[in-house]
Amino acid sequence: EDQVTQSPEALRLQEGESSSLNCSYTVSGLRGLFWYRQDPGKGPEFLFTLYSAGEEKEKERLKATLTKKESFLHITAPKPEDSATYLCAVGGGNQFYFGTGTSLTVIP
């Protein structure tokens, strides 16, 4: 069964404490893996697209990587404004699958 699983469900970090969020998938015919950021009460905002294993993308303190089975969103020296829910989504076959997200809280 095709699915996308994100872990952990919630993560609390001190400001400056680096960490990683995980997105594992079992989707055949991968067409792309997408990371979104969602602030409370708002729609998800696109961050990155990864298409093939070994690919990496960076944006400010965020870096996304992709293997054949999972993706990591690395957050380096996070700030309180990085607090949000991070969603992972995978396009494969003729479907698009979302994970349930990781809620990140960065404490000053």
């Binding site: 708002k42 696109f46 989504a89 396009g91 698009f96």
Partner: protein, 112 residues
């Protein structure tokens, strides 16, 4: 550039009342359009998607319906709302079904 508009931002409706949420996309032609619902603390649930005018696919049986009267307009409706219809509704568009989506700002619906 492409933009997506969704309204209203918040809505409080009594049980049994009708619903109409509207979504429009600008700057692109023949987009794929989607309606998602996001319950508190849960993931995104696909409700409807459309690949063209008048073409609607339903993913979840419910008392909601969708219509696409124009190329870049997508409407979510209900004749009689239930308490369980409360949630955060998101409209999105994409170039193709398995490509990345761009989301609207969402509508918080509370049925009382």
């Amino acid at each position: 550039s492409q933009t997506i508009h969704q309204w209203p931002a918040t809505l409080v409706q009594p049980v049994g009342s009708p619903l109409s949420l509207e979504c429009t996309v600008e700057g692109t032609s023949n987009p794929n359009l989607y309606w998602y619902r996001q319950a508190a603390g849960r993931g995104l649930q696909l409700l409807f998607y459309s690949v063209g005018i008048g073409q609607i696919s339903s993913e979840v049986p419910q008392n909601l319906s969708a219509s696409r009267p124009q190329d870049r307009q997508f409407i979510l409706s209900s004749k009689k709302l239930l308490l369980s219809d409360s949630g955060f509704y998101l409209c999105a568009w994409s170039v193709r079904h398995t490509y990345g989506y761009t989301f609207g700002s969402g509508t918080r619906l509370t049925v009382v």
